[in-house]
Amino acid sequence: MRQHSISSIREGLLRKEFSAEELTREALEFAEKENPKTNAYLTFSAVRAIAAAEAVDRKIAAGEDPGPLAGVPVAVKDVIVTKGLRTTCGSKLLEHYIPPYDATAIKRLEAAGGVIIGKTNCDEFAMGSSNENSAFGPVRNPVALDRVPGGSSGGSAAAVAQGTAVVALGSDTGGSVRQPASFCGVVGVTPTYGRVSRYGLTAFASSLDHIGPFARSTGDAATLLAAIAGRDEMDATSAAAPVPNYVAALDGNVRGLKIGLPREYFSGLSAETGDRVHAAVEILKKLGCEARDISLPHTEYAIATYYIIATAEASANLARYDGVRYTTRSASTGTLTEMYRETRDEGFGAECKRRIMLGTYVLSAGYYDAYYLKGQKVRALIAKDYAEAFKQVDAIVAPVSPVPAFKLGEKVDDPVAMYLADIYTVTGDLAGIPCMSVPCGTTPDGLPVGLQILTRHFDETTMFRVADAYERAST
C-alpha cells in the first residue's frame, strides 16, 4: 500500500493485476494492523469500503470508466459527515453520532471511484495544532512516534504518511491541512475559499473553513481536488468558477515564473527549517523561476485577527451542541438551561471551551467594535497585502511552520504559544487564497519540513505546477 499512487492503482486494476476488492481488503487489514502505533483512525468502514470497491470492479468488468479515483483507499477526517458511518469530530459529545447524510465531497469522492476505508482522528471540532485535543487520544507522528503529527487534521496526515491510505481528506481553517502535512512529510492542499463545497463539513469558522486533500505527491493531491471541487447548490459559498484539468498542466516547466519570498516569513524561523526552505528556493531558481523579495506588512497581526474571527464564528457554530438533537446529554437532572450548560461543560474539551469563551467575549455587548469589527478590518488589510504582492509575482513561497514536529505534551499547557506557531498558515485562510505544503526535506534529526506555496484566488494550477516541478527536481 505504501508504494501505491492513484495512477499505479488505476494501471493495476485495468491490467487485472488485482481487483479493487482485493486491494481494499489489503488496505483495511494493513490500516487496522498499523493503527495502534499512531491512533490515526477512529473508525474503520469495511462494509462501505468493500461495497464501493465492488462497484469499481463491476464497472471495470463491464468495460466502463471506473473514475479518476478508481479503487483508491481514502481516509477521511472525522469532521466530514458520512451517512451511516460514525462521525465524532474528535468530541465526546458526538461519540455515538451516526450522520443521516453524506457531505458533498464524500459523494463526489465515491462517485469518482474512491474507497473510504476509515475516519481519522483530529483535534476536537478541528481546534488545535497538535492533535492533542482529541477526546479519543492524541495521534502519533509516524515519522517519529514521540512527536505530534500536527493538527488539526493529524490523523489524515499520519494515515497518508504511514501508507495506510493513498490519499486523505482534511479540513483547514487556520493551517489544519498544511501544518500536519509539513510535520508528517506529505503533500497537503488548502484550495481557494469556495472551491470545494463545505456541505457536510462540520462548521468551525464558516468564513475560513476549507476541505482539502492530502497525498504523497502533488499529482495525486491535484487529482483528488479536481474530483471534489466545483459548484454545489447545497453550499451557497461554493464557487461557480470552472475547475481546470490540474494534472494536465503538470509538465515540470516553471521557467520564467515569478516567485515572491515574503521577508516577514523568514524572520523568527528555526534554522533547521529555514535551511530546508532556502534550499528549496534555490532549486526553484535553478528551474528558471525568478525569485523576488516581497513584503506582506500585516503578517504580524494575523494571529490576533485569526483568533478573533475564528473564535467568534466558532462560538456561534458550536451553539448547536446542546444535548437535544445529536449530542450526548449530561446525566445530571435539572432545568433545560442547566441541562444545556452541564452537557456542554462535560462534553467539550478545554480548547473548545477556551475558543467558545473567547468568541463569546469578543462578540458580547460593548466589545463587538473593539474586537470583531476591528478583526474584520485587519483581515481586509491582510488580504490586500496578498493582492498587492500578486501584482508583482505569480506565486509566493514560504515556510509552513516556524518549527518541525514537536514532542507530545511539549506545548499543551501554553495555548498562546501554540496559537503563535500558526503564524505562517492563518494568513492564507484569512485571504481565502489557495495554498499548500509540499515536503522539502528533513532536519538533521530527520523531521520533515514543508515548503508552502500560495497563489492568486482560483489559481491552484500555478500552485500545483510549482510544487510538482520542485518534486521532480528534488527526487
Binding site: Y97, A239, Y307, R344, L358, P415
Partner: protein, 99 residues
Amino acid sequence: MKITDQEVRRVAELASLALRDDEVEKMAEDLSNILTHIEKLNELDTSGVEPMAQVLFDAEETATLREDRERPSLTNEEALANAPVSGSGYFKVPRVIER
C-alpha cells in the same frame, strides 16, 4: 488586558457553559493572555478600512439562489435517530412549563 473571574462567569453564562470553579480561574488567565496579544491590533489605524465581511463575492447577490422547489428531506425517524432522548416523534427536553 485582565479578565476577572466575574467576567468569565458572565461570558460562560452567555455561552451556556457551566464552568467549575477551577476552570474559571484557568480560563481567566488564558483569556487574559490571549486578549493581551490581541491588543496588538490597536497599533493599526483602521479608520477608513472596509471590514472584510465576505471572503469572495464578486457575483450578484442573488447569484447563488436556487429554484424554490419541494425536495425530500430527512424523515422524522432519521431526524430523531441521534437524539439522546426522544418520543412520540419529538425531541424530549426537561420540562420548561410547570402545570
